[in-house]
């Protein structure tokens, strides 16, 4: 399985490649877009500058750096939808991506996908987690629209993911494995991401509200999301099943995080891959995964930060 790592600036590409990253993805907010929509109206679901390549030149340099290392670069354009007014600006970015020889676009808006298909841009389409694909028929729907790869929803169990992969053998699939586990179904969540420090990070919002009904096990389970370190979410224990199922790539979340954090996550997954190459079975792999989790986060596994809490 390939390891897909987030990048926000050209300097971190070589470091992440040395750690074991095989593919890269990132975002970019052009000045014209920022003037009209500001960072909170981002075209790639990240609303802060640290999670974006800062200039066109730097984006081009990032793509070139990845290609120099024989690794592909994917551009994230994954809003749930772009309005008719936004579409010309988005298409301009796609034309720029084609010009820079970006290898794939990570997209979620069915309208945008149809526009891309109509124009026959020579670029691969990967369906973002923002499309909320949870079943094999939905994957086929996007495959029929020309998608080559689908990012599966984070809340799927490894068994559910395996069923989808088996049902659609012509498609490539990708799953998040490290960091940033949102409790909500991202493709169906209507919060917009707003990183203003005066505001609560929106993924935390549903659980940071004050219950006004009597406390109950349900309200406690609901509220617990806001007290757990979800930013350090981990799915290493699912690696064996996902690899056996034929998953094409595991994805590290974390656009906007420190290079050091990204590198640690890539190294952890790469180390697990090395163990897998020795022919280790599921029990041995799970043990390595648990040790790796403990070393990375200095914490025990926890259902709120585990990618696969429904499994043994």
């Amino acid at each position: 399985m390939k390891i897909l790592a987030p990048v926000d600036h050209v300097e971190e590409i070589e470091t992440l490649a040395e750690a074991g990253a095989d593919e890269f993805y990132g975002g970019f907010l052009p000045a014209e877009w920022n003037t009209a929509y500001a960072d909170v109206g981002s075209l790639n679901k990240r609303t802060f500058a640290d999670a974006q390549f800062s200039t066109t030149d730097e984006l081009a340099a990032g793509v070139e750096a990845a290609h120099t290392l024989s690794r592909p670069f994917f551009l994230t354009l994954n809003n749930n939808f772009y309005s008719p007014a936004q579409l010309p600006l988005v298409l301009r970015e796609i034309e720029r991506a084609v010009q820079f020889k970006i290898d794939a676009l990570i997209v979620a808006d069915p309208g945008l996908i149809l526009e891309i298909k109509k124009r026959r841009y020579p670029i691969e389409l990967h369906i973002s987690i923002l499309a909320g694909v949870m079943n094999s028929a939905a994957a086929r729907f996007y495959g029929d629209l020309g998608a080559a790869r689908v990012v599966l929803d984070r809340s799927l169990t490894t068994a559910e993911a395996a069923r989808i992969i088996a049902a659609e053998p012509e498609m490539d699939f990708e799953s998040f494995l490290m960091y940033g586990k949102c409790p909500n179904v991202e493709g169906l969540c209507s919060f917009f991401h707003d990183d203003n420090p005066e505001h609560i990070w929106p993924c935390g919002y549903p659980c940071d509200l004050e219950p006004t009904t009597e406390a109950s096990p349900a309200s406690a389970a609901h509220a617990a999301w806001s007290t757990k370190p979800r930013g350090n979410a981990c799915g290493l224990c699912g690696y064996y099943t996902l690899e056996t199922a034929g998953l094409s790539a595991v994805k590290i979340a974390g656009r906007g995080r420190r290079t050091e954090d990204k590198t640690r996550a890539v190294r952890a997954v790469a180390a697990l891959r090395d163990v897998s190459l020795t022919g280790a079975g599921p029990a041995a792999m799970a043990e390595v995964a648990r040790q790796s989790h403990a070393e990375l986060f200095n914490a025990d596994c926890d259902p709120y930060s585990c990618y696969f809490p429904a499994e043994d």
Partner: protein, 264 residues
């Protein structure tokens, strides 16, 4: 244009007041464990017919397990042109077209992409006009998507009644449109708080026994200073500021779906 009024129920009571309504919405939008079975669906269709109502089956986003459940229900639906299926998952749309091309698919509000929730209320005043406009738009505004949906047999799309107002206009689009009221959904999760037990979410394995129907969590919120309810595996706001029939008609809406309670 006459505004059609539909009543939304998640469970069919022995008796209910259907006065003023011409259609029954029944089923589940948010959880595959609440997909009604074949017999339950047949009973709901019968109840609707007895009350002189047309019938719309609501379906949720699903895993492959849910697709299997839905396939059985779809196959069992009677051939009746007044029956619709509301799809909140593009996989479900594909399944319906494959199994029952004779039944009209509707695209539900979970696929509308509308922006609801945190920050919009506080940011709207200082957002530029372009951004504010985006917060009132929807996925269904795309002309190329509208054409695609029509080609796939979709004749209707559905949206929530946004606190910040909606600008989607379906006049002369070839698509009919419905508005849900008074409750809008904010988000949904598979980590259902009502199904959490011993470190596991039982609903993921289909073992929750629909525990969510035992209650809900009300929370103080910031969605235009409205409370928010966590009901089952989804969260909702209430918006009693429902546009008039004339306003809705001017934007191409021809149906209001009234939720008799928060749809859990």
């Amino acid at each position: 244009m006459v505004m059609e009024r539909a009543i939304y129920l998640t469970e069919i009571p022995g008796e209910f007041d259907s006065a003023g309504f011409s259609r029954l919405y029944f089923g589940a939008e948010f959880c595959e464990n609440k997909i009604p079975g074949v017999e339950e669906t047949a009973a709901a269709i019968l109840t609707a017919a007895d009350s002189g109502l047309d019938f719309s089956l609501l379906t949720p986003y699903v895993t492959d397990r849910g697709l299997t459940l839905l396939r059985d229900v779809f196959v069992s639906l009677p051939a009746d042109r007044s029956i619709e299926v509301v799809c909140n998952d593009y996989g479900t749309l594909l399944l319906l077209r494959q199994e029952r091309p004779d039944i009209a698919p509707v695209l539900g509000r979970l696929l509308s992409g509308q922006k609801r929730g945190f920050g919009i209320s506080s940011r709207q005043a200082d957002a530029g006009p372009a951004l504010a406009e985006t917060w009132r738009a929807s996925t269904f505004d795309s002309p190329i998507l509208r054409k695609y949906l029509k080609d796939k047999g979709v004749g209707r799309v559905e949206l929530d009644n946004l606190p910040q107002g909606g600008t989607s206009d379906f006049t002369d689009s070839g698509l009919a449109a419905s508005l849900y009221a008074p409750f809008g959904y904010v988000t949904t999760t598979r980590y259902c708080p009502f199904a959490f037990q011993d470190g596991r979410w039982l609903n993921i394995a289909g073992e929750c026994g629909r525990a969510c129907r035992q209650g809900m969590i009300e929370e103080t919120g910031d969605i235009f200073n409205r409370p928010v309810w966590a009901a089952g595996n989804a969260q909702f706001y209430e918006n009693q500021d429902i546009p008039s029939d004339e306003e809705l008609t001017s934007q191409g809406f021809d149906r209001i779906v009234f939720e008799s309670s928060i749809p859990v």
